[in-house]
């Protein structure tokens, strides 16, 4: 059993203190769950199912939104979490005249 830290009782992710293999049991305080995929040391594991577009919560505050559905026990990182801050890339897309050309 590998330990993962839950900082705040409102969090829906925990931080792995050691590397976790897929299928291993993870002890995250009040929750015990099975890792769906490998989770590197220091990375996060979902404590419950998180719907696409829902807030990912750590330290009791949102750290971003799920960019795809995240099942409990899944590795949570840049591949499935989008930041809501400093997104100049999205602003540039919105402003670009080429994004919605006429007739499309």
């Amino acid at each position: 059993v590998i330990a993962a830290i839950v900082v705040n009782s409102g969090d829906n992710v925990a931080t792995a203190l050691e590397s976790i293999d897929a299928g291993q049991t993870v002890d995250a305080g009040a929750v015990r769950l099975t890792a769906v995929d490998a989770i590197p040391r220091g990375h996060k594991i979902a404590l419950c199912d998180i719907a696409a577009g829902a807030a990912v919560v750590k330290y009791g505050s949102p750290i971003g939104t799920a960019s795809s559905p995240i099942a409990a026990g899944t590795h949570v990182h840049t591949h499935n979490v989008a930041s809501a801050r400093g997104r100049g890339d999205l602003q540039a897309v919105r402003r670009s005249p080429d994004v919605n050309p006429q007739g499309m």
Partner: protein
């Protein structure tokens, strides 16, 4: 001896308290940097140069920031005497830097490379003055000073998952302790408050301070977004991401723990501007470590406590930088750079309060003269923040 926690510092004529007694060698412009470094090296380690890239070709705010930062170092309490090395034709005015030091009660001299007649003569003249000043520094003695006279800069760099879970909360306990005693704490790196500003603003002692914090964070976010790219990649950095940090919000929420859990936000100040309030001040600095520390020390911080998960070596020319890690591997692999290991918080159940007490003891020891790892290794990084093009 004063009642309460104290350290052996230098009580200055202007009422400030220093914890080092450097002879500062300030080049007014990049063209004078090599001479300044040679002069300072002749009286190492008491000599400290401030090599920088600016001092000419600047207009408007950048010229002001360069001048004000150099002047702030010239009157800094960790500095006992000043030599200004000028070229002779630059924008930054040597006389004004020297006057800043004299107004704070420190001896100050100017050596001009053009007036002395070249590199060799200017270097020789500078070293001659430096040796006299270094001898006079030896005659200034330390005396007991209260912990409340400290201005502590809190900083993190090379962050990983252990930063927000261990070292930053431990430094936060230190920050709360110092503020309880009447001391001051300064937090920089506005980009690394993004996503946690609501928590700091809620601790503001006045509505104006909270509103100013939110304004500054919005401005920095708008500046980053105006470049049309995702801030992810620099915030968090590639190393941060490998270390487990997913978004700037996550990094910020971990980073702001350094500023304590209850210390009230008293003030928000500009880059290298004087820190005048006790309690917590936020300074408008970029996230680049050396520019950030340079600004906070310029604001008057005598000491820096710097957490790092991945490990980073940087110091400052005049202020000791204490490196703290919550990562047990980094404590071993970068042992020569690390001063305090708080990885026991994650591996052995060390309470945050106990780690905070250890850090407070370390701060008093270093303030009393014990060199940090960065000082022993000669890490003296210095970089003035620039916002405008060189003209």
């Amino acid at each position: 001896m004063t009642p309460g926690p104290a350290f052996l510092g230098y009580a200055r004529a202007d009422g400030k308290v220093g914890i080092r007694n450097h002879v500062l060698v300030v080049p007014t412009v990049i063209c004078a940097a090599v001479v300044a470094e040679r002069v300072a090296a002749a009286i190492a380690p008491v000599g400290a140069a401030l090599p920088h890239l600016a001092g000419c070709g600047q207009i408007g705010p950048d010229l002001t920031v360069t001048h004000d930062t150099l002047a702030a170092y010239a009157r800094h309490p960790n500095v006992g005497a000043v030599i200004v090395v000028a070229l002779g034709c630059e924008q930054v005015v040597a006389q004004q830097i020297a006057d800043a030091a004299r107004q704070a009660g420190r001896p100050a001299h100017i050596v001009s490379i053009q007036a002395e007649g070249g590199t060799l003569r200017a270097t020789a003249r500078g070293i001659e003055i430096a040796r006299e000043l270094a001898a006079s520094m030896d005659r200034i003695e330390r005396s007991w000073c209260p912990a409340s006279s400290l201005v502590l800069s809190v900083k993190c760099g090379g962050s990983d998952y252990t930063s927000g879970l261990a070292s930053n909360p431990a430094v936060g306990r230190l920050a709360d302790t110092l503020v309880d005693l009447g001391g001051a704490v300064v937090l920089g790196e506005i980009a690394e408050i993004m996503g946690a500003e609501h928590l700091l603003a809620a601790r503001a002692s006045t509505p104006a301070a909270g509103a100013q914090l939110l304004r500054v964070v919005s401005r920095v976010e708008a500046e980053a977004m105006a470049l049309g790219v995702d801030i992810r990649g620099t915030q968090p950095s590639p190393g941060n991401i490998r270390g487990g940090l997913t978004t700037i919000e996550e990094k910020s929420l971990g980073a702001t723990h350094k500023a304590g859990e209850r210390a009230r936000l008293e003030d928000v100040v500009g880059y290298a501007a004087p820190i005048t309030k006790r309690g917590l001040t936020v300074m408008d600095t970029p996230g680049l470590d050396v520019e950030s520390v340079t600004g906070m020390v310029g604001g008057g911080a005598q000491i820096v406590v710097f957490t790092t998960g991945l490990g980073t070596p940087t110091g400052n020319p005049i202020a000791p930088v204490i490196k703290v890690t919550g990562n047990a591997r980094t404590a071993q692999t970068m042992a020569d750079n690390i001063d305090v290991d708080v990885s026991g918080i994650l591996t052995a159940g060390e309470p945050f309060d106990a780690a905070g007490r250890r850090l407070f003891g370390e701060v008093l020891e270093v303030a009393s003269g014990r060199p940090t790892a960065a000082e022993r290794l000669g890490h003296r990084e210095f970089a003035i923040h620039r916002r405008n093009p060189t003209i």
